[in-house]
Amino acid sequence: MPATYHTIPIRDLNEQALAQLSHDMKLSLSTEDMLVVQQIFRDIGREPTDVELEVIAQTWSEHCKHRIFAATVDHSVNGQTEQIQSMYKTFIQRPSKEIMARKPGFVLSCFVDNAGFIRLDDKYSVCLKAETHNHPSAIEPYAGANTGLGGVIRDILGAGKGAKPIANLDVFCFGAPDTPQELVEGHNIIHPLGIMRGVVHGVRDYGNRMGIPTTSGAIQFDPAYIYNPLVFCGTAGVIPQADIAKEMSPGLSVVVIGGRTGKDGLHGATFSSAAMGEASAAEDQQAVQIGNPIEEKKTLDVILEARERGLIEFVTDCGAGGFSSAAGEMLSETGGNIYLERAPLKEEGLQSWQIFLSESQERMVLAVKPENVPELQRLADTFQTEMTVLGESNDSGVLRVWHSGELVCELDNSKLHEAPTKHLVSVFTPSPAHVGLALDDSHLTDDLKEVIGDFAIVSREPIIREYDHEVQGNTVLKPLAGASADAPQDASVIDIDGSDKLMSLALAILPEWGKTDPYAMGVGTVDETVRQLIISGTNPDKIALLDNFCMGNPESPTELGRLVECAKGIRDAALAYGAPYVSGKDSFYNYFETERGPVNIPVTFLCSGVGVVDDVQHVCGAPLRHRGSALFLVGYTEDEIGGSVYARRHGIVDARVPQTDCAANFVTYKQYYEKALTKGLVLAAHDVSEGGLAVAAAEMAFSGKAGVQIDLDSLPSQHGWSNYVIPCFAESTGRFLVEVDEDMADMFAQAMSGRPCARIGGTTADDKLTFKAGGRVVLQAGIAELKHIWKHGLTPYY
């Protein structure tokens, strides 16, 4: 098949013509970028090929280069301006490096590979990566979510010399499933219910077929997500520490294993770096790839076996940018040749750039010694997948791409990594943050029934059941537990084959808080993640985090201002908890132009955490264990109803959002871990988060083993409150509810001395949730009735 490429004259174009060219070729490059490209080729002294322009466009795309997180931002708060040189370096990388310096030997690799690795024990390491697949899921929910998960699984397969995927997590942000159709503006917009079903089925059909348990997840609902649903997929892996480091050298064969290359997934990276418009659906469908999990499963089998046999020198996934990014990653330093005519194709007639940039799924690129190619081929044959030697590395320092004997791309990669720095402006104006609001606390029981039936709180059971969370036979702390396996859990904990340590996973996402106080959202989200991990049995000194940001238009200063404030929060929280960010990802332009103006999603921050549980005896679940136990609340409850589910249901937008003292919290968490949890004093513990104490207590009682009685006047608080809505529904951070055997209650109180912790009640035989205050009952409901509301909140839509 002959090469099909064009030379594109750009050296003599004016600015307008350059901009037009970027638009016509769908390069998503700004005029400033195009001027730099023009200069690169003026310096080289020739015109570029279309292949080269496509490679530059995808290399410089927001999706691949994270240029907004690397931008220089002039950030103003109340008229005070500061300049931030790269939010990534300032808020993510620098604090993480500081923490790593404090904890040598814990983080084994980060910022350089597909995922960050932490030390599990003397032999093994675990890693975690989470990504978004938002734009594809908006257009084609099933395939978009399908390939979103497929892609992050390949990230793990391409981490180190090939990590084994052992758990998946998924987090979705949708419009409410009961949104009236007339509120969905614009043509070609899929109703939130269709999005939800398609996305869930897409994740299900990929994750289940791959044989990876989906153990953690969350869903958020907000009208702003109608047009831009968010789909986060994450995968954790395990790998021997000796197989983390990988290095390219001259003289290796570059091999592709797995699926064939086709026209699906063209311009995916550049497409996801632009806003959605009504034209998106028709124009951009080819940007959505088609998934085939069995192809990926075969590829996984080959890679894990090849790694165990020591055949792999280097491996990476074919994600955004396809061969161009994989080959670029492998060959940009040593140099080498890629021969496009060798790539197995799904169909005839692909142009050179299409072969090089296609994002067709299920392909992994490996570098192996030439003498190992036959054994790798035998493995591919054994597992019935296709393998092709695509090229080789050499010591030229230049990656050359050939198509049927013609040189179609020859770029000096050192120039490509110098994308022009963006300059952005952001503004943040703090919102009112009232305390002492007059709230009606005369019908707390009805309030609880409303809050516990809110989509943000209700059980995800219909979705959880569609995902296999038990495959691999290692899920110790499962997403559903209790006497009838339908009560909620905080973190998940996974046994690791060959180790006596366990891996824990947790996540938090609080987009509602960021509407008033994005800094508090950042801090609170990290706090909730860390807290869930520790109370589930994780060693507080062995926690690493992932940051995933999504937002609307970063060129809007007020939108970007919220992101900056959130990023400051996550920096401060990470430093206080000594939990570094080992990987992350961001997604911008999640906004939609309607006839009445743009709809931006709220600034959304997903924090995922991975940790080490030192001993299976430390694992602790959330559901109540038996009657007659003592209940302790750890942490202060304050007048902070802002951002809560109660506030949203009551239209309160100006109340104070929970403020978090991470340094004090961490002292408390460590004391709890060292003196109570690991000493066997705890039966169950549940974080108090969305919905507040009333929801947390009810959720624990959904184990079906006991009722709960709590005295609201005994909650630890520094500043108190003026009505009982606060202790029931405020979502103050740093708190968790602990069930302790009556015989151990004094020891527990002793263990927690000096920290905010009080005995606030106990478990009962009456199967009711009862809150007392001022000596009288202020809230009482049957556990069965509450559970019915909670358990079936999503079932009508499923």
């Binding site: 077929r209 044989g211 069995i294 959880i464 569609e466 296999d468 691999q472 499962k478 038996h626």
Partner: protein, 235 residues
């Protein structure tokens, strides 16, 4: 030491934990991808195992392509193994494959009554008393299930016949998937071949139960006893 051969197809995904369960019970084990499996592999094994997963994606009737590929690579050696006194065990997708291979009584496993994939723990009732796989299990116990196509259907009258002739190894107590006569597991009349939809390999140890207060057995999860039962019968 009895030897177990686990056949792996593209899309098989419970092989690692099933091999672990076999090995914990005492078997020497070998996982063999089907493309390189030969009748000689079968001849060396006392137990042939088909683990869970989605062989060839299960995009056509579950287990059907695996059956055709098995016959292509192994001919009638499995039937011969069975006739010569060998054991066969199929879990989930493996059960589906065994029914297609004609080694278990004729039946099909179709979409669950709910028409969705369900990952849920099932309460099971032991029916047949002649099955070596279930010999150490109590009359009622729990196992995790996870499948979309687990609803067992037969030609009219067959299910009752299987029940009458001792070919029903296990029934569901709750019957989430809507199987005929609540059948969760079948065996051949000798008990040497057995298949079931739930996953014994996922409940090897007590800590893999969803409830930390589970007190059914102090040392092992119920799933262990399937592998132990086969081992004791073969050793």
């Amino acid at each position: 030491m009895p030897h177990a051969l686990l056949l792996k197809y593209p899309g098989t995904n419970c092989d690692a934990e099933t091999e672990r369960a076999l090995s914990v019970a005492g078997f020497s084990t070998q996982v063999q991808p089907i493309a390189t499996a030969t009748p000689a592999h079968v001849a060396q094994a006392q137990l042939i195992v088909f683990s869970g997963g989605f062989s060839y994606g299960d995009y056509v009737m579950s287990g059907r392509l695996a059956q055709l590929e098995t016959e292509r690579f192994l001919g009638d050696s499995l039937q011969k193994h069975h006739a010569d006194g060998g054991f066969l065990f199929g879990i989930c997708n493996g059960f589906q494959i065994l029914t297609k291979l004609g080694i278990l009584p004729k039946a099909s496993l179709i979409w669950n009554r709910s028409e969705r994939f369900e990952c849920v723990w099932d309460r099971l009732v032991k029916v047949s008393r002649s099955c070596p796989f279930t010999q150490f299990l109590p009359d009622e116990f729990e196992l995790p299930s996870a499948h979309a196509e687990g609803r067992l259907v037969c030609e009219p009258g067959d299910a009752q016949k299987y029940l009458d002739h001792g070919c029903v190894a296990l029934q569901y107590a709750d019957n989430h998937n809507g199987s005929e006569l609540r059948i969760a597991g079948l065996q051949d009349p000798t008990g040497r071949a057995m298949g079931l939809m739930p996953h014994p390999e996922r409940f090897l140890r007590p800590r893999h139960h969803y409830d930390p207060d589970w007190s059914g057995d102090s040392d092992w999860g119920w799933g262990y006893y399937f592998f132990k039962g086969a081992f004791e019968a073969l050793k």
